[in-house]
Amino acid sequence: MDTNNIISPENLVYAKPELMNNNHMHYCPGCSHGVVHKVIAEVIRELELQEKTIGIAPVGCAVFAYKYLDIDWQEAAHGRAPALATATKRLLPDKMVFTYQGDGDLAAIGTAETIHAANRGENIAIIFINNGIYGMTGGQMAPTTLKGMKTSTSPDGRDVQTMGNPLKILDLVALLDGVCLATRTSVHTAAAVKKTRRMIKLAFENSMAGKGTSIVEVVSTCNAGWKMTPADANDWMVENMFPVYPIGDLKNI
C-alpha cells in the first residue's frame, strides 16, 4: 500500500470533525483540551445540534475555545460561565447550552455560580477540565492542585495546612438535587476518549431533555505546567490524580 492508497477516501478511518475549523490551536502539544474539543465537535454533529448549540467559553486556557468550533459562542468573565448559561438556556429553552471550564474558573472564582446553577438544576451541560493547575497564567496553584504538588505559587509543594486541600468539587455538586449527571472521565487512552464521548453525549442529551444539570469532569494533563513530556504526564495523572479524583459516575439518573 502506497501513500495514495492510504489517503484514499475508502481507507479513511479518521477525519477532522466537520465543526472544527482550520484555526491554529493555541494549546500546547500533548494537552487534553484539543481531544475534548474534538469530542464535543463530534457529539454536536452526531446529535445534529449544530444550529441549536450555544457554547460558553471560560477564562483560562480554554478562553479561545470559541475560535475552534463553528458554533455560536459567548465568552464569559472568569468563573461566570454557569450564570451566562443559566440565562441563555432559560431564555432559549429549546437550545443546547454548555459551558467549558477549567478548574480555576469552575472551582475557585466560579464556585458560587457552579454550585447555584447546579442546585437550581439548570438544564445545561458543564464540561469541566481538571488538570490541577492554572495553565494560562503560567502554572499557579489551583483549588484542585494535589497535596505536595509543586506549582509557581506553591514552589515547595502544596502545603494543605496553609494552602487548603484539593477541592473535590464534583463530589459536592453530585450531592445537589438539581444534578442529573456527575461523572469523571479522562482522555489519555482511546478507551477513555470513547467513554468521555459517551458521557458528553449523555450530558448534551440531558440538556435537550430538560433533565437538570450535567457535569462531566475530564481529569486532564497539563504537561507544560507539570513540566513533563505528554507521555510522562499521562502516567503521572494515572498514578497521582486518579486516586484523588477517581474515574467513574458519582451520579447518573
Binding site: T53, W73, A76, A83, L91, E113
Partner: protein, 360 residues
C-alpha cells in the same frame, strides 16, 4: 381604551413597565431600597402571561452575568440593585460594554461608602458616568425624577441600549424608588419572536444557521493593534451618543439670573426652592439633566453666558459639579450644595446655600 392611571412606588413602576415593554428576562438579588422590583415581578408572575423569565440569582455578580448571557442572545434583559450591589456588578458592566451588549441596569442608590445606609443618596454619580468598571467605556445613564419617569425610562433605556449596542442604566435613588405617585403605564407589548430577534440582532447567539458565520460574543482581543481599533470604534460610537442623545429639562430658565443644576430627587426639591426664591425676588431657574451621560454640556455652556452663577444640588459631596464646571469652563461661579449619608436637603436649605454661595 380608557386611560389607566395607578398609584404605585417607583420600584413597582419599573417592574410593571418591564413586563409591559415585553422584557424577556429579569435577574436580580435582594437589597434595600429596591427589593420591590423583584418582589413585584414575582408577584405578577409574568412567565404565565408574556413568558418573561424572572430569576433570583445567588449574587449581584451572578445576576449581571445572567444579563450578559441573555443580552448575548439579543434578548431584552435587565437587573436592578442598590449601590453596594451595583459595585459588585461593575465587572459585568465593563464586560458588556467591551462586548457591545445592550441591557438595562437599575441603580436605586443608597448612602455609602461601604454598607453605608439604606437611605437615599446620589453618591454613585462618579461610578456611573466616569466608568465604574475597568477600561475606557461609557454607560448610557438616565436619571428619573418621578415614578412616571421610572416607568418611562425602562422603554427609553432599552431603546438606547439596543440602538447603540451598549449597556444603559437608570440611576435613581431611594426617594424615587420608594415614593408613591400616580403613573400611567405603557400598553402591553408582545415579546419579540426568535425570528424577529435574528433579524434585528444579526450578532445574537441564537444558534448558528448554515447561512452565516458563527456569532461570537467576547470582549477579548489579544492583538493590541486590533484592540486599539475596537476602542476607537467604541469611542466613535460614544461621540455619536453625545451628539444625539442628550436629554434635559429646563424650568423657569428664560428670565433666570441664577441656575440650579440638579437631577433626580434633588431636582424635585429644587422646584420648591425656585418658588421660595422667586417670592423673595431672586430669579432662579433649574436645569435638570435627564441623561447624565451623555451630559448636557452644550446647553450649560450656553447658560453660562446668560446667568450669573450656578449651584449644583446633589445628595453627595459634590460629583456632578465637576461636569458642570467643565461645561461652564470658568465663565461664572459654580458651587455645590449637598447633604451626605442619606440625608435629603430641604428647599430652605437649598435657598440658603444659593444665597450664601452664589447670590451673595
Amino acid at each position: 381604551m380608557s386611560e389607566e392611571i395607578t398609584l404605585m412606588k417607583g420600584n413597582e413602576a419599573v417592574a410593571h413597565a418591564a413586563i409591559r415593554y415585553g422584557v424577556d428576562g429579569y435577574f436580580g438579588y435582594p437589597i434595600t431600597p429596591q427589593s420591590e422590583i423583584i418582589e413585584t415581578l414575582m408577584e405578577a408572575a409574568p412567565w404565565n402571561t408574556t413568558g418573561m423569565v424572572v430569576l433570583q440569582a445567588e449574587s449581584e455578580v451572578a445576576a449581571i452575568n445572567m444579563v450578559y448571557g441573555g443580552a448575548s442572545c439579543g434578548k431584552y434583559v435587565m437587573t436592578s440593585s442598590s449601590s453596594p450591589g451595583i459595585s459588585l456588578k461593575q465587572e459585568g458592566i465593563s464586560y458588556m460594554a467591551g462586548a457591545e451588549l445592550p441591557g438595562l441596569i437599575v441603580n436605586v442608590q443608597r448612602g455609602g461608602p461601604g454598607l453605608g445606609t439604606i437611605q437615599p443618596s446620589q453618591a454613585d454619580y462618579f461610578q456611573t458616568v466616569k466608568g465604574g468598571g475597568h477600561g475606557d467605556y461609557r454607560l448610557i445613564t438616565l436619571a428619573p425624577n418621578s415614578v412616571q419617569e421610572m416607568a418611562d425610562f425602562v422603554a427609553l433605556g432599552f431603546e438606547l441600549a439596543f440602538k447603540y449596542r451598549n449597556p444603559a442604566m437608570i440611576l435613581t435613588d431611594g426617594v424615587i424608588g420608594q415614593m408613591m405617585e400616580k403613573v400611567k403605564l405603557p400598553e402591553q407589548r408582545r415579546r419579540r419572536t426568535e425570528q424577529e430577534i435574528r433579524e434585528q440582532c444579526p450578532w445574537a447567539t441564537l444558534g448558528k444557521t448554515a447561512d452565516r458565520e458563527p456569532n461570537i460574543i467576547t470582549s477579548l482581543e489579544l492583538d493590541s493593534a486590533v484592540m486599539e481599533k475596537n476602542n476607537e470604534r467604541f469611542q466613535a460610537k460614544y461621540r455619536v451618543v453625545e451628539e444625539n442623545e442628550v436629554r434635559y429639562e429646563e424650568v423657569k430658565c428664560e428670565d433666570a439670573d441664577y441656575l440650579l443644576v440638579a437631577f433626580g430627587s434633588a431636582a424635585r426639591i429644587c422646584l420648591k426652592t425656585i418658588s421660595l426664591a422667586r417670592e423673595e425676588g431672586i430669579r432662579v431657574g433649574l436645569l435638570r439633566p435627564i441623561t447624565l451621560w451623555p451630559f448636557p454640556t452644550k446647553v450649560l455652556n450656553e447658560y453660562a453666558g446668560k446667568v450669573k452663577g450656578m449651584l449644583t444640588v446633589e445628595l453627595n459631596a459634590g460629583q456632578m459639579i465637576e461636569d458642570v464646571r467643565l461645561a461652564v469652563n470658568g465663565k461664572i461661579p459654580v458651587e455645590h450644595y449637598g447633604r451626605l449619608g442619606g440625608i435629603v436637603p430641604t428647599p430652605d436649605g437649598v435657598l440658603e446655600a444659593l444665597k450664601e454661595k452664589i447670590v451673595k
